[in-house]
């Protein structure tokens, strides 16, 4: 630090921005997947479908009477990388329309 730089008492404006959040309610996860409907959600990124396809196969093998729905096949508009919060909400509504007990998504690269 420069010796010549002066100490001073400052009044400063706090630049921290407020983040307003509404309290949300999330449905509980099922305790057991037997007989439940699992929706697989792929956002279109490379190989996410291959990953979820294998997860779907394994769920059917290991869980009794599980129903697996591939969202991108029955509702192709969900196969997109949502550019905005509004678009994410639209996708969430479309997925909810498939009446899942659980959704498994693969959102990364």
């Amino acid at each position: 630090m420069e010796k010549s730089e002066k100490q001073a008492k400052w009044k400063l404006v706090n630049p921290e921005a407020l983040v307003q959040v509404e309290a949300g309610q999330v449905n509980p996860h099922p305790k057991d997947l037997s007989g439940k409907t699992v929706v697989l959600y792929w956002n279109g990124k490379p190989n996410g479908d291959l990953f979820l396809n294998r997860i779907g196969e394994l769920l059917i093998e290991k869980v009794d009477n599980v129903k697996v729905i591939k969202a991108w096949e029955v509702c192709p508009s969900t196969k997109r990388t949502d550019p905005t919060t509004e678009a994410s909400r639209t996708t969430a509504k479309e997925l909810a329309g498939l009446n899942p007990d659980l959704i498994i998504g693969a959102p990364g690269d």
């Binding site: 630090m1 420069e2 730089e5 002066k6 100490q7 001073a8 008492k9 400052w10 009044k11 400063l12 404006v13 706090n14 630049p15 921290e16 921005a17 407020l18 983040v19 307003q20 959040v21 509404e22 309290a23 949300g24 309610q25 999330v26 449905n27 509980p28 996860h29 099922p30 305790k31 057991d32 997947l33 699992v38 279109g44 990124k45 490379p46 190989n47 996410g48 291959l50 990953f51 979820l52 294998r54 997860i55 394994l58 290991k62 997109r80 990388t81 550019p83 905005t84 919060t85 509004e86 678009a87 994410s88 659980l102 498994i104 693969a106 959102p107 990364g108 690269d109």
Partner: protein, 414 residues
């Protein structure tokens, strides 16, 4: 995970349930992807049935007026404090004193308490007052405020896809083009070296925009900003004016082309990848010059073609240097003639793409295709946005839009 949780948090949920699978998933053979799924299954099943969500808590408060606080120390110590609090990007800022903010707010006709919007991904509330705080920190002059606020209003429009620009792995660039009388009136650089050093208005407005983007928006590496390499543009974004004196005869300035009056001043913003530079020093005709473009620009630059066909609906920006614009204008080409030639020259055969991209979505858009089909950057030539910018030299620039980012224009209110 932290980035992934910002979205549920902004929606009022404390957290979502994640199972982390080590990257990559893309660019792997299918056997490897299936193996990763098999290895992750137990953890996915456990998460599916053991994890239970907690209810998020509402966070309320007043975004205006901003709080003040006392600080004892030097300017350097203030800067260190701001770095520790994540209120800056690590480069020096001026202390945001109430007096500086008061002066800055004299530059705008908009009310201090006006909420401009929520900056993603953290969704921090941005008021006009807070914009003035960052303008002061960046060293802006009060007369820059209308340009800064218009640019922020533009970036906050959903069409710009600011969220992806601030959090994706790509080397995103925020672009601000200023056109109309304000360029000369407040000294926005539009000629030699317009987007670079020495232009105080461009640099300080660009610094203020990025302070707001990355501090109010909360995006910083490695938790939120996932840029693979990033660039110095994370500190100061692109701001340049339209050089309307160099417009070829008959070409309209950008703001008029976008439906505004000659006397209006406008900003146009978009998020892009780093520009491709055309340094053609040799062509003596527009046709030759277009061939040069055809070898340096193509649809792969923003995952177009069969990868993400939706980007064909977007609007790449071509910033023509005055000398290249003069060459094109001397051929008596209109802007639309240039667009059409550019569109044709920059098509490449479908065989250029990896087979993993698939073709079904491209077929939906273009009809049946073969390996030899020429794939354009945009669906129609009219989609290219053209601006004349810069000074002497044989350099032009092409900005490929980030997926989902469209140019948005806003009137500058003074």
């Amino acid at each position: 995970m932290e980035l992934a949780n910002t979205i549920p948090r902004a929606e009022g949920f404390r957290e979502a349930c994640f199972v982390k699978v080590s990257p990559p998933i893309g660019m792997l053979p299918s056997f490897d992807v299936r193996e990763k799924a098999e290895n992750a299954l137990d953890e996915i099943l456990k998460a599916a049935t053991d994890w239970q969500p907690s209810t998020g808590e509402a966070v309320k408060g007043a975004a205006y007026p901003a709080d003040t606080f006392e600080f004892s120390g030097t300017v350097e110590e203030i800067n260190r404090h701001f770095v520790e609090k994540k209120w800056s990007l690590g480069l020096p800022v001026l202390p945001p004193t109430p007096e500086r903010i008061h002066e800055m707010l004299k530059g705008t006709v908009q009310k201090s308490e006006e909420v401009l919007g929520q900056v993603p991904p953290r969704m921090g509330t941005l008021t006009v007052e807070l914009a003035a705080v960052y303008a002061a920190m960046a060293g802006c002059h009060p007369e820059y405020m209308p340009v800064l606020i218009a640019a922020l209003e533009g970036f906050l429009a959903p069409e710009v896809n600011w969220r992806l620009a601030l959090s994706g792995t790509g080397t995103s660039q925020l672009i601000v083009i200023v056109s109309g009388p304000v360029v000369k009136e407040i000294g926005i650089g539009c000629e030699q070296g317009a987007a670079g050093k020495g232009h105080h208005a461009n640099g300080s407005i660009g610094y203020a925009i990025n302070l707001i983007a990355y501090v109010v928006g909360g995006s910083r590496p490695p938790m939120f900003d996932r840029s693979t390499l990033a660039s110095p543009s994370d500190y100061v974004c692109w701001v340049f004016g339209e050089n309307d004196r160099a417009l070829p005869e008959g070409w309209k300035p950008l703001h008029v082309e976008r439906g505004f009056k000659h006397s209006d001043s406008l900003i146009t913003v978009m998020a892009s990848y780093p520009p491709a530079e055309n340094m053609d020093h040799w062509s003596t005709s527009a046709e030759e010059h277009l061939r040069w473009w055809g070898h340096i620009v193509n649809p792969l630059q923003n995952m177009g073609g069969p990868c993400v066909p939706q980007v064909m609906e977007q609007n790449p920006i071509i910033a023509l240097g005055p000398e290249h614009a003069h060459l094109i204008g001397s051929t008596k080409w209109s802007k639309d003639d240039f667009r059409k030639a550019f569109w044709e020259q920059t098509r490449i055969p479908l065989s250029a793409w990896p087979s993993a991209c698939g073709r079904e979505r491209l077929t939906e858009m273009l009809g049946p295709v073969t390996d030899d089909s020429l794939v354009p950057i945009t669906r129609e030539p009219e989609q290219f946005l053209i601006v004349i910018a810069g000074g002497d030299g044989k350099q032009s620039h092409y900005f490929a839009p980030l997926p989902g980012s469209f140019p948005v224009s806003k009137l500058i209110r003074r």
